[in-house]
Amino acid sequence: MKVQATSRTAAGLPTGKLAVWWVIASEVPIFGGLLASYLMNRVANPGWSEGLEHLNLWIGAFNTLVLISSSLVVMLAHAAAARGDGQKAAARLRLTAAGGALFLCIKAYEWSVKIRAGHVPSAGGLWQYYFSATGLHAAHILVGITILLIVAAGAAKGKELQRVELIGLYWHFVDVVWVALFHLFYIVR
């Protein structure tokens, strides 16, 4: 049965887009709470964040570049979908997903280096925040890759092209979160 409520637009935005904005709104406080706890610890305890110099700025910067480039690609996918070119949109979405996968590989390498150096989550202090913040973000990337591939499969058949923009919104959000993490963990030492 087709539900008519879904296709109504009394607020002037398509229902799916409105919902994605609210999903993003509900995600902000989750990262916000974690990062606020991290910042409170940093501000209240001088010297608490000294371990940050072990993080490799260049790896972080390269990962930022990877993620921002993938955001550009997802925008190009939206442009293709807006023209009705589902094939091209699907290809670009898959490229975006590949960017996300590359990001995760680099992240995994970084984690393994830290763990081998003894900077494990159970060491407490700074490292538990580093691992939980980047881990929560990585989980979002993983979810994003999954949805990107699902949307790409649909778009390749020319179906549900409006979803390309919606996953793009989410991907930009994940990107912005990473930029915040990059600043708080890699740049501001």
């Binding site: 539900v3 609210w22 509900s26 406080p29 916000g32 709470g33 538990q128």
Partner: protein, 586 residues
């Protein structure tokens, strides 16, 4: 009836006659918002019985320490802690939230905005299933080694962070997991409520034509969404502290236990308003209908609700005045806490102003609505004592606090639910509840309720600390006078619980034997009364069009004293049938 015959148009354009034949598909796997609402309601009611049983155990132990409790046996200290913890957790997360937000939100939002369902029916089903899963995990935790979680519903570390302290290692992890899954369920459900109310409104329904209760449920969903995030993060951190060796909250290894209190109450205090706003809205629906008068200050009520929502993010630390926070910060939070009572008082004044000069019908839903305003005002005004940091240092963690927040939460979760349930019962089940037994149940609940909690104010002022297993070994607290008051509370609890049987019997009997209800038994204006009682899957034969605000009672130009939102103005009939058919083909 004008409101029903008003909906013309092509009857074949909307095909909602698809009926699920399989019982399981119809009642357990449905995407129909009404079925999901009822699923939430019956689950919430079952959990309420569980929460009630736990408090019965706790109260009996306090009144008759060391004596076996009928139906339970001797209460050990660990069982006492678990029962008190689970009573609080269940009543807030598995009773107040599902009943007051999810059950009514699901049932009435699409009906009141004139839609055929939620905008995301499958997500809606998922939301209930997640909620059910969380309830099952919680129930399962009663039976694991160590039993259910016994570290209080606020789950403060270090007590909650280590099984060595709370003695319920598995129970505490399952409790956290259940709470976290429940949050996800309500985030999913909340997004559905918000988007439905924003986007799926009927043709012609502007934001100021939306009934107050829909506004309230949407605002509370937004509040929940904005406040719960830090606690989701906090719950994950605490889970890792319990199971993976991190030390976020462990002071021995550089962690900070007060951080949990911040994360918890940053959610915990807005949560009070998350569950308060919907019953405020339910009361705003009931009062105009049973006083046959336009709701006083429609916009004012919405503005005060928004002001409450904004302020609620700046009051959380009044729970931590004795946790060693900076006294300068305590001053700020005292001020914001007192400030937040202003918009809420204003809301209550708007309801009282609606009653002024009206012709009140003391039907059962109206009795509950009036009781809500009266009892909640007691809760609100005693909160001022606790919001003032100086007084709070004396009263903190005493029975005064317990009495205060039960004077807020009982009206919210219990009185609000009974108000809404008795009001919409004819719509939900097509029959009326018995009026006489409804009144017996009302007085049998309200009178014992006050006998439970007024003694607690007195005991709290005398210094009774909360959460104590037994007062026998504290000479200054074990006086016969104080113990008599404790017994009064306990006896009143048992009496009140006994009267709930009246409701359950009335409910079950009325389902099959009650007087048949027509579509609009109260002659009310809002759109849910334009649908049949009970509404079929798809709600309306043709989706309605809205012409006016929801509370036009006793309009001077009208012969009848109500004016349904969807009744078309006489000159506009031709335009309307065209509009309706456009809507149907869209």
């Amino acid at each position: 009836m004008a409101s029903i015959t008003a909906s013309h148009g092509d009857p074949h354009a909307v095909d909602h006659h698809h009926e699920e034949t399989n019982w399981f598909l119809k009642y357990c796997w449905s995407t129909d918002h009404k079925i999901i609402g009822l699923q939430y309601m019956f689950t919430g009611m079952a959990m309420a019985l569980m929460g009630a049983f736990f408090i019965y155990v706790v109260r009996m132990q306090i009144a008759f320490p060391g004596h076996p409790v009928p139906g339970f046996g001797i209460v050990s200290p660990a069982a006492y802690n678990a029962a008190a913890t689970l009573h609080g957790s269940i009543m807030i997360f598995w009773v107040a939230m599902p009943l007051i937000i999810a059950a009514f939100g699901n049932y009435i939002i699409p009906l009141m905005v004139g839609a055929d369902d939620m905008v995301f029916p499958k997500l809606n089903r998922l939301s209930y299933q997640l909620f059910l899963l969380s309830a099952l995990i919680l129930i399962a935790s009663f039976f694991v080694p160590g039993g259910g979680f016994g570290g209080a519903w606020t789950s403060y570390p270090p007590l909650s962070a280590s099984g060595a302290f709370n003695l319920t290692p598995m129970g505490s992890t399952m409790w956290l997991l259940a709470v976290a899954i429940e949050f996800v369920a309500f985030l999913v459900g909340g997004i559905n409520f918000i988007v439905t109310a924003m986007n799926a409104r009927a043709r012609g329904m502007s934001f100021t034509d939306v009934p107050i209760v829909v506004w309230m449920i949407v605002l509370s969903s937004i509040l929940f969404m904005m406040s719960v995030g830090p606690l989701v993060a906090g719950a994950v951190m605490l889970l890792m502290d319990q199971n993976f060796g991190t030390h976020f909250f462990d002071p021995k290894h550089g962690g900070d236990p007060v951080l949990w209190q911040h994360l918890f109450w940053f959610f915990g205090h807005p949560e009070v308003y998350v569950v308060l706003l919907p019953p405020m809205g339910i009361v705003a629906e009931i009062i105009p209908v049973f006083s046959r008068k336009k709701l006083f200050g429609y916009r004012t009520i919405i503005y005060t609700a928004i002001a409450t929502g904004v302020l609620s993010f700046f009051v959380w630390a009044h729970h931590q005045f004795v946790a060693g926070i900076d006294p300068r910060m305590a001053n700020v939070f005292s001020a914001t806490t007192v400030l937040i009572s202003i918009p809420l008082a204003e809301m209550c004044f708007a309801y009282i102003a609606t009653l002024y000069g009206s012709s009140i019908r003391f039907a059962v839903p109206m009795l509950w609505a009036l009781a809500f305003v009266g009892e909640f005002l007691i809760g609100g005004s005693t909160g001022i004592f606790l919001g003032a940091s100086g007084a709070d240092i004396h009263l903190h963690d005493t029975y005064f606090v317990i009495a205060h927040f039960h004077y807020t939460f009982f009206p919210i979760a219990i009185i609000g639910t009974f108000a809404g349930l008795t009001y919409w019962f004819p719509k939900m089940f097509g029959r009326h509840l018995n009026e006489f037994w409804g009144k017996v149940h009302f007085w049998g609940t309200i009178i014992p309720f006050n006998f439970i909690f007024i003694p607690m104010f007195i005991n709290g002022l005398a210094g009774d600390p909360r959460r104590y297993y037994s007062y026998e070994h504290f000479p200054q607290l074990a006086t016969p006078g104080l113990q008599a008051l404790r017994m009064t509370s306990t006896i009143a609890t048992v009496v009140m619980l006994g009267f709930q049987v009246v409701f359950l019997v009335n409910f079950v009997v009325s389902l099959t034997r009650g007087r048949k209800a027509e579509a609009n038994p109260y002659q009310a204006n809002t759109l849910e009364w334009a649908a049949a009682s009970p509404p079929p899957h798809g709600n309306f034969p043709v989706l309605p069009t809205v012409y006016r605000a929801p509370y036009e009672y006793n309009h001077p130009d009208r012969e009848v004293d109500y004016w349904p939102q969807n009744e078309e103005p006489k000159e506009a009939i031709a335009v309307v049938s065209q509009a309706a058919s456009e809507e149907a083909t869209r």
